[in-house]
Subunit: 211 residues, 2 copies
């Protein structure tokens, strides 16, 4: 895979998500090339991807600036994610295999262990939470769906939310994942869909109160 373009993508995306590049900040190719340490060509590739994922928007004159995520857009992202990931859960339930089910149980077990520790390990929680959802999306068996969701799963948003969770909040995630596993085990697509949608909408409201 293309190393320079990928590094540029990751680094510029990082700048945006970390808040180092505020909304409205112009994304100048040459300046970014200097920062990343590559030429303009891979930077352009990265910017085009970021534009496609709406991390950047184009001014009338063709210049790119960091996109502004207002509260409405965040709400819309959660709504879309609830819909699409609910759909993914539905498909996954219909295609569930013992191996995938075991992987999901393993992931949720790791989350539970991290939460049950004397000092809950947020790092493990985030990593395994991500893995749980990735496994579900992969189990849905739709490349298109996975592609759409990839632009929607904002790890930093999840992180900021999780950082403020107390133990009972974290445990609620474990319980909800457990409910999802039950729905998957039963092969009940609608149960899985509804549970996933509820899980994500709860996360949305946790996020809202967190900020």
């Amino acid at each position: 895979m293309s190393s320079a373009a990928d590094r540029a993508y990751a680094e510029i995306r990082g700048l945006i998500l970390a808040g180092d590049a505020m909304p409205g900040t112009p994304l100048r190719e040459e300046a970014l090339a200097g920062i990343v340490g590559v030429s303009r060509t891979p930077v352009r590739d990265a910017l085009r991807r970021l534009e496609g994922e709406l991390y950047a928007v184009r001014t009338p004159g063709g210049r790119l600036v960091v996109a502004d995520w207002d509260a409405d857009d965040v709400a819309e992202m959660f709504a879309l994610r609830a819909m699409l990931e609910g759909h993914a859960a539905s498909r996954a339930a219909a295609r569930m295999t013992p191996q995938v089910l075991a992987a999901l149980r393993d992931s949720n077990g790791a989350i539970e262990a991290a939460v049950a520790a004397p000092v809950p390990d947020i790092g493990i929680f985030l990593r395994e939470n991500r893995r749980f959802h990735d496994i579900t999306i992969a189990a849905a068996g739709s490349a298109r769906l996975a592609n759409m969701l990839s632009a929607l799963v904002e790890q930093p948003v999840v992180r900021r939310t999780a950082a403020r969770y107390d133990r009972s909040d974290l445990m609620r995630s474990v319980v909800e994942h457990g409910q999802l596993v039950q729905a998957f085990a039963a092969g009940d697509a609608e149960w899985a869909r509804a549970t996933m949608a509820a899980h994500i909408r709860r996360a949305f409201h946790a996020f809202r109160t967190a900020i």
Copy 2:
């Protein structure tokens, strides 16, 4: 906007959708550059966009080939479109204005006229149908939603379906659009969502029987 890159995008996309480039056909940058009459640089831009929209997929070695749309993927596209465009209709209903409503009525009036003509004009039908849906998506006021739907609205798929419509099929679209307008006029988001979802799922089955 960038003329060469856009022409390359449109032309390569056209090759894929027209069936001139069958699934699995390698998309070689230099060859495409020759066809379009530009250099590799804008062709690369176009290919990256097409890759993001899953018109092309990447082989393990980094080469791009035309993606294969099997029946399952088409079904999934319609399912996603029903979900997302239903959501768009819901949002549009909540944000409806007299101006947008008038534009939608105007569009559907044009469709009805085209269908009612002694020889139904499929060209006008397709153009105005597209406009009707575009107005709805724009009225939803979500750039992210519009962005996702743009990769999902396969005009050629619609075209192949519409080409086999008889007058009663075409008229059914007019009726369904009329129902949507009613839901919009009432500002009933859930009515609009359900009507749009039903409209698209009917189109899906029309497509299935057409092929």
